[in-house]
Point group: C2
Chain length 457, copies 2
Amino acid sequence: MSNQEVPYKIYLTEDEMPKSWYNLRADMKNKPAPLMNPGTHKPMTAEELGQVFCAELVQQELDDTTPFIEIPDEIRNFYKMYRPSPLVRAYCLEEKLQTPAKIYYKFEGNNTSGSHKLNSAIAQAYYAKKQGLKGVTTETGAGQWGTALSMACAYLGLDCKVYMVKVSYEQKPFRREVMRTYGASVVPSPSETTEVGKKILAEHPGTTGSLGCAISEAVEVAVKNPGYRYVLGSVLNQVLLHQSVIGLEAKTALDKYGIKPDIIIGCAGGGSNLGGLIAPFMGEKLRGEADYRIIAVEPASCPSFTRGTFAYDFCDTGMICPLAKMYTLGSSFIPSANHAGGLRFHGMSTTLSQLYHDGYMEATSVEQTSVFEAAEMFARIEGILPAPESSHAIRVAIDEALKCKETGEEKTIVFGLTGTGYFDLVAYQKYNDGEMSDYIPTDEEIAASVAKLPKID
Amino acid sequence: MSNQEVPYKIYLTEDEMPKSWYNLRADMKNKPAPLMNPGTHKPMTAEELGQVFCAELVQQELDDTTPFIEIPDEIRNFYKMYRPSPLVRAYCLEEKLQTPAKIYYKFEGNNTSGSHKLNSAIAQAYYAKKQGLKGVTTETGAGQWGTALSMACAYLGLDCKVYMVKVSYEQKPFRREVMRTYGASVVPSPSETTEVGKKILAEHPGTTGSLGCAISEAVEVAVKNPGYRYVLGSVLNQVLLHQSVIGLEAKTALDKYGIKPDIIIGCAGGGSNLGGLIAPFMGEKLRGEADYRIIAVEPASCPSFTRGTFAYDFCDTGMICPLAKMYTLGSSFIPSANHAGGLRFHGMSTTLSQLYHDGYMEATSVEQTSVFEAAEMFARIEGILPAPESSHAIRVAIDEALKCKETGEEKTIVFGLTGTGYFDLVAYQKYNDGEMSDYIPTDEEIAASVAKLPKID
C-alpha cells in the first residue's frame, strides 16, 4: 500500500487491540540478571517478592520464558476507554522540516493521567483487586504515575495511598488535586505516617523529600498493613510487559499500511515507555527476522545509559529495595536542581540494560533547552503540547529527520509521544522566559556516586 | 445493527469527516433576528461588520439561506490533527447507574486547547490569513478560546493578541503559558495598551477586569491596527456554523450503527457547543423528518434561557458591540463570585434563542455542587476529568438515565463532552475540600439588570 493513503491518524479497531502482552525476555538469549536480595546477595524468590508485590505480578516479574501473557478481559475493557491510541503520521512536521523522512508517533497522552503510565497502573491494580487486597501504595514524583494509579484504583474500588515527594506536592498542587478527585489519599513525603519518614524528618528537618524516601515510605506502609501491596510504575519487568501494548498496537498499525520503520526512538527514564514501544520490534530483531535502529534518549543531566556503569545497584536511594543489574549512575546520584520534568531515575530497566549491553540498541543524551525548543516547535506544528519527557524523543526524531534532509534518504522514523505537558507549565514558563539552563554532570560527580555502588562478589 | 456491536468508541475514518459545515439557519422558518447597529437601530451591514470581522466570516454571519458551506481543504487538514473526535458509548457509566438507558457522548477534549473551541478558531484564523491579514485579536476569560486561537494562529503563522481578564491572567498562569508557548501575546485586561483600558483603569483603579472590558480592548486594537481583525469564540452564527462539525460527525457515527437518539443534551454558555452538537438533528426536526428531545443545560447562577428575557441586548458589558436579539439577563449581569468555570455569558446565540422561543428545544439549569458531584463520578467511572462546563451536560444526562431506571425505558441519550478540566483544578480543589457553594440569583437581581436593556422601538 502506498504511503499516500496513510491517514493523519491510524486508529485500530477495538478488535485489533492486542489480546496478549508480549514478554520480550522470552526471546532474549542473554536474559536480564535477576533481582538480588541485598542481604544475602541471592536472587529474590517469589516468596520474598510476594511480601511487597501482588502474587500474580511476582510471577510476571520472574517469568522470562513465556512469550505471550493473556490480557484479562477486565483490563482490556478498561483499555478500551482510552485505547487503541493513535499512531499519528506527522505530515505537518515533515512539511515544516522539508524532510524526505516519514515521521510517525505513537501518542499515549489522550487520557486524564496524561501518559502511558495508565497501561500498567490498571494491570497492577487489577491483580491487587483479584488477590482480594484492600489497596495499594506507591510513590510519585512529577505525578503521572500517581495519577494513573489513582484512576485505576477509583475504577476498581481499591484504596490508593500515594506518597508524593514533598517538593512536588507543594509545587504541583493540581496533580495532587487530580489524584484526590480520583479518591486517592496523597501524603507529602517525608511524612510522620511512617517510621522511615519520622527518622528522615528528625535527621533532616525541613527536607523537601526525594523519590527514594517516598519509595521507602510506600513500601513500609504496604508491608506493615495487611491487605496492602506496593506497586511501581517503571523499571520492573512486569511494567515493561504491560507497556508492550504500546508497541504491539504500533506494529499492527504499521503493518496495516505495509510500513516498515527504519528508526524507532523513545525517551528513557526507568524504561517503561521505551521498553513497551520497542518490544515487538526488538523481538523481531532478536529472532533475526528484521533489523531496526533503536535509539534510547535520555537527559544529559541524568545519563544512565550513556555515562553509567552496568552493575548491580539499589533501585532506591533509601537502599531498602532489591538490587538490580542495570546501567546506573549510582543510587545516590541526584540530577541537577535545574533539571525539569521526569527521566530522573539513576538506573534503568534490567531488560533494556541487558539489550543495550549486548548491542541491540543505541542511546544518546540531549540537553533540556534543546528539548524544549523541539517541544515548542512540535506543539506549534502538530498541535499537541508534549510532556518534557516525551520531548526528548521529539528532539532526536527531528534531528534524524534533518539528517535525512541532508542525505536525501526517505527513512521511516517512529517515536513514542508518551504524554502531554499540561502539568509541566512551570517548566514551559521557564523556557518561555529564557530562564532555562542546562547542566551536564562532571565525570567526577558521576564517579563519586558510582563509587558507592554495593560490592557484589 | 444491534447495540451489542457498538464499540466503546466510535471513530469515523478521515474520509467520513464532513466536507461541509451545516448552516442550521437555512432550515429555520423563523430566522434569527439580525444583529443591529446600536446607534441607528438598523441591521448591521456587511460593510459595517467588515470593519471588525474578516470579510468571508461576515458573509457566513449574514448567510441564513445556504444550507451547506464547504470546509476548505486547509481547515480539513488541520481538523485531521485532532478529529474525527470519538463518539463514546458510556458502558461503564451505564453499568454504574444500573440504567437501561444507552448513553453516548461526543468527546471534544482530545486536543491541547482542551475543548471544542479549536473547531472555530482554525476556521476564523484561516479566513484571516486568506484575507492577507497580519493577525487577529480576541479576549479570553477562562482561557479555552484564547488557547485554541493561539494554536490556530501558530499553525498558520498569524499574529495573535489575546486580552485575558486580569483575574484569570493572575489565577490561571498555566493557561497563559500555553498561549505564550503557542506564540501569542497575552495582555492582562484592563491594560494601558488601549484607550478603553486606560479609561477603565483610571475610573476603577485596582479592578480585576471583566470579559466585557477585554472584548472592548480587543475590538479597539483590531479596529485601530491595519491588518488586524477581531474574532470571537461563541455566540455568533459563524461560530455555530463551524461547530456543526461536532454534530455532523456525531450523526454519521450514530447512523453507522443505526442508532437514533431520543435525547440530546448540551451545556450552554454562548451556545457554540450546543449549537454545533444539535445542528443536524435540529435540522431534521425543523424539516419534520425526525423528532428529538433537545435539552440546553445552563448554570443556575447564570440562567439566560430559563430566567432571561428574549430581547435585543448588547453582547458585551462595554456596550460597544452590535445588539443581538437573544435570551439575556441584561449585559450588566455578572454571575456570583462563587461561580466556577465558564458558561458565564449574560446572553445566548441568536439562533438558539429563536429555536428555544419557537419551542424546538428545552432548557434547564443546574447548581454547581451537583455539577461537580456528577463530574467527579464521571471522572472515576469513565476515566476522563471533565471541564466544569461539560459537566453541566453530564449532570442532566445522569439524571435522565436515572429516570429511565425508574420507568424502565431504554432511551438513547447523547450528550456533548466539550472538554477536559486540566486547567480547572482550583475549582475541583474547592469541591474536594467541601468549600464549594451554590448561588441562585434572586428575581430582583435579574430584574435589575434586565431593566437596563436598551430601548428599541
